[in-house]
């Protein structure tokens, strides 16, 4: 339903002004090719600055690529960017256009601007607000809501006036850890009854064959929600498969995380050797090891001098984050597990 070929976009270099350093040219989308199938939830996963937003902005007709083609449901979006608005609904990373409206008016106005008449817009608004559990705060301005509620309200606006393709740029981000937990548990709690972000997407898919393109840097979200995922790094697609298929690639490995109390006990030779293979973040080391290596490593750190210096350790099967690192992803800390 959506075919992307050879898509390339470079942000021009900016010259520094009066002492302020300039920024070099950035190739934010580098020869990207994608095929999104009808009815699937397709994810773009990558760390900050990987080029996810730049890519979806080209798919939504907001930005002209330097090169390449975008075809959605048979329409050439590069030649006719204005058609994108009639094929897809887009939830951007910014909500500033809606911030001062109430939740209800934001949804209704968006529906009207999506071509619904007043009666339809209101009916769909009510249905979507109910579906997402937003009815109790329908009368409040977005600006006065928590980050999570605001994001959900913007998501509601994106759903009014149905489109065969939903493009969602980090729909669940912008929330502090507490709000994020609250939202995920609310999602879980309501999954069965009222409908939630995830359920709403599912229901839409079943009835209308809606396709979803979801941008995320959250690997847990990616693993649980997505049918297929393209891993993006520095503007390039470095892998594209189902989450399970991607994890196959590192199936023979175990993730070991070590947290030291202060400094790693480098006087222990085994620990010094482990360091070569670790990704370090302060006191935390992350290693991907073969199962028998992992066993040896655990034996080392749970005995003798090393154990005295150890604060915590975990063993886990690999996640998409490990896939990203195994594929040579450049950003070491970019992906979120939450």
């Amino acid at each position: 339903m959506c075919a992307v070929r050879g898509l390339t976009k470079t942000y021009a270099a900016v010259r520094g002004r009066r002492g302020a350093p300039g920024t070099p040219e950035v190739r934010a989308t580098d020869d990207v090719a994608l095929d999104i199938r009808r009815g699937e939830i397709f994810g773009l996963l990558g760390p900050n600055g990987a080029g996810k937003s730049t890519l979806v902005r080209q798919l939504t007709g907001l930005m002209r690529p330097d090169r390449g083609s975008v075809e959605i449901l048979g329409h050439d979006i590069v030649a006719h960017p204005e058609r994108a608005a009639r094929i897809l609904a887009y939830l951007g990373q910014e909500s500033s256009a809606l911030d001062e409206l109430t939740v209800a008016l934001a949804a209704e106005t968006t529906g009207r601007l999506r071509g619904l008449d007043l009666r339809r817009a209101r009916a769909e608004r009510d249905a979507v607000l109910d579906e997402l559990g937003l009815a109790p705060i329908a009368g409040r301005p977005l600006k006065k809501l928590s980050g999570g509620q605001r994001r959900l309200a913007c998501f509601a606006a994106a759903l009014v006036g149905e489109r065969p393709l939903l493009v969602l740029d980090e729909p669940t981000t912008g929330m502090d850890p507490v709000a994020r937990r609250a939202v995920w548990s609310a999602v879980d709690r309501r999954r069965a009854e009222h409908g939630t972000t995830v359920l709403a997407v599912d229901r839409r898919r079943a009835e209308h064959g809606t396709t979803v393109l979801l941008v995320t840097h959250n690997v847990i979200e990616a693993e649980t929600v997505l049918d297929r995922v393209a891993v993006l790094d520095q503007g390039r697609v470095i892998a594209c498969d189902t989450p399970a298929g991607l994890k196959e690639r590192v199936a023979g490995e175990v993730r070991v995380e070590l947290v030291w109390r202060e400094n790693a006990p480098m006087q222990v030779p085994e620990v010094a050797a482990l360091r070569q293979r670790a990704v370090e973040a302060g006191r935390r080391w992350t290693l991907r090891l073969a199962p028998e290596e992992a066993r040896a490593a655990v034996a080392t750190v749970t005995g003798g001098a090393a154990f005295a210096a150890l604060d915590d350790f975990t063993l886990a099967t690999p996640s998409l984050e490990d896939v990203y690192l195994a594929l040579g992803g450049a950003a070491r800390q970019g992906l979120v597990r939450a």
Binding site: L62, G74, P81, E82, A85, L88, Y90, R112, L113, G161
Partner: protein, 274 residues
């Protein structure tokens, strides 16, 4: 970086043209001009109500303060008419020029335009809806200022209705300029600055009686669209106003309004696709 030629975004295209083999899916409906204009207007008015009422107070107090200060300076009569008229129109300039350029500047740089640009809404509906909402939002402040000024200077209140024509026409001209500034400025601070400069010009050149101005300043005054709103209202205080001149002034406002709103619409389209 490439920009879409304005014509591409504007040209209405039949749903499935030149996409090969007729496999292109049907497009969703396009939002029509008037309904979407009404929707934008309504949303913007509610936004303005929530967020801008304190600013309207500021604008009104500012104009009232100016009139009180000017009371010691002007000699009454014809000059007072200019002061009251100028102070009333400054409220429009404050909201339509200053606040609207700020709004569009911020919307553009925060990425808020993406929201509208990914909806099938005619650019004119977004620009006109916002401009109309900001302009009509100024009506109470303008009225309060005018009534206060007339009482203060002992001027008649019978011609107050003229403002009902002056506000939308001057509002169209000034909000078109404001929107264009906001959408064309290379940086948001510049958009704010341009709006404020325009509003200062409207203030300085609008409330001072023109007879006292040097030639060059009077020329600058003639270039400012708000001047014609000021003139139109000021002319109607006398016993038998020359309605042809009044109509002429309003026509200038309307003309500038059409042009500036067209420029703003073009600027919106340019800003929406980068």
């Amino acid at each position: 970086m490439s920009a879409v030629p304005a014509g591409v975004a504007a040209r209405p295209a039949p749903a499935a043209e030149d996409t090969g083999a007729g496999r292109a899916a049907e497009l969703g409906p396009r939002a029509r001009l008037w309904p979407s204009l009404a929707a934008v207007y309504r949303a913007q008015l509610s936004r303005a109500r929530v967020a801008r009422i304190p600013l309207l107070f500021v604008a009104t107090f500012q104009s009232v303060g100016i009139m009180i200060m000017m009371r010691g300076v002007v000699s009454g009569g014809g000059e007072a008419e200019y002061v009251v008229s100028g102070a009333s129109v400054v409220v429009v300039a404050y909201v339509a020029l200053n606040l609207l350029s700020q709004y569009f500047g911020q919307l553009r740089f925060s990425g808020g335009l993406d929201h509208y640009a990914t909806l099938p809404v005619p650019p004119a509906a977004v620009v006109l809806g916002a401009a109309a909402a900001y302009a009509s939002f100024t009506v109470p402040g303008t009225m309060v200022t005018a009534v206060f000024g007339c009482l203060l200077f002992g001027l008649p209140l019978g011609n107050l209705w003229v403002l009902l024509a002056v506000v939308p026409l001057a509002g169209a001209a000034l909000s078109g300029l404001g929107a264009a500034c906001g959408l064309l400025a290379p940086r948001p601070e510049l958009a704010t600055l341009l709006g404020q400069l325009g509003m200062s010009a409207a203030l300085l050149l609008g409330v001072l009686p023109p007879d006292r101005m040097p030639e060059a300043v009077r020329f600058a005054r003639d270039l400012l669209p708000s001047t014609y709103g000021v003139e139109a209202y000021a002319r109607t205080f006398g016993g038998s106003p020359n309605w042809a001149y009044v109509a002429g002034d309003m026509a200038v406002c309307a003309g500038v309004g059409v042009v500036s709103l067209a420029v703003a619409t073009w600027a919106y389209r340019r800003a929406a696709v980068r």
